[in-house]
Amino acid sequence: MAWRRRPPRGLTAPDTWPAERACRSGSRQLDSLEEATDHEASPYRTPINRVTEAALRWISGTGRGQAVGHWLSRTIALPQLRHLTSDTIPWSPLRRPLREATVALVTTSGVHLRDDHPFELESDPTFRVIPRGAEAGELAISHRAYDRTDALRDVNLVFPLQRLRELEAEGVIGRVADWHYGFGLVLRGADLVAPGREVGRLLGRAHVDLALFVPA
């Protein structure tokens, strides 16, 4: 069943909702979405298997675990990247000073609006749109390949929207873009090509000067 994106509660949709397109149903996971913490300012955690959660804590929290995590990442990503990348690297220099630039975030950490459909945890190449005013308590993290404990305490670790708003207020950057983009775990890199291009098109249409990519 396909679903069409809708404005989340308490947020006003733009004239044209940027990702108004069909996506796979996330209703099964939506049903299982639970609140991770009583702290209103924290994102919600989409629960994953407890054994996996413990393994991820070991990977993040120990030197040996990090070595294993890096080996896994290389083993999964490198063969795919050899096929997906080309000899020519896109290049676009910054065309205006930072204090005049519009800045947007793209994260692959599984961050999305709490009221939006969660990412499929096994692999999901769709993306979610996050408005510039979103607060931590309005967000959720749906991802099963990294330890989210600290990101739930401070979502700026994987999605520094609050930091960007502060820098806008200080005049360091010109403007925080109206819309930002979240991806979840994707096992086949080729599946990301089309949605990646769509996000690029949306960022261009929004006259974003600088896009910052933040992984998990």
Binding site: S60, P90, V158
Partner: protein, 108 residues
């Protein structure tokens, strides 16, 4: 549109052949550092801005030297200047020839 990315696995960062990447030696889920460490997070963002201004060739991967939980991050007073750590890391970045797509490299 200019893009700058963070990376947590160096070999993957190099293989990704993205326009500009900053590699941080930190655990997964901590691309901007530690929870609640605002100055640390701002330092990483400043380095990303510096990368947007300073990278002169596509495919550049710069290794940021920050140690996990063993660094101090003083407040940033001048956002138009690059951080010392970034300056040193950029100077250490390997030279290399890459093909350029789109418009040529430039600097403000």
């Amino acid at each position: 549109m200019t893009t700058v990315g963070l990376a947590l696995v160096r070999e993957v960062a190099v293989a990704a052949r993205a326009p500009r990447l900053l590699f941080v030696h930190w655990p997964f889920g901590h691309a901007l550092g530690e929870p609640g460490k605002v100055e640390q997070q701002r330092a990483v963002l400043r380095d990303m801005f510096s990368m947007a201004r300073r990278a002169l060739r596509p495919g550049l991967v710069v290794d940021l030297p920050y140690r996990w939980r063993r660094e101090s991050y003083p407040p940033i007073s001048d956002w138009t200047a690059d951080g010392e750590a970034f300056e040193a890391a950029l100077a250490r970045a390997p030279e290399g020839q890459t093909s350029v797509g789109g418009s040529g490299p430039g600097r403000l």
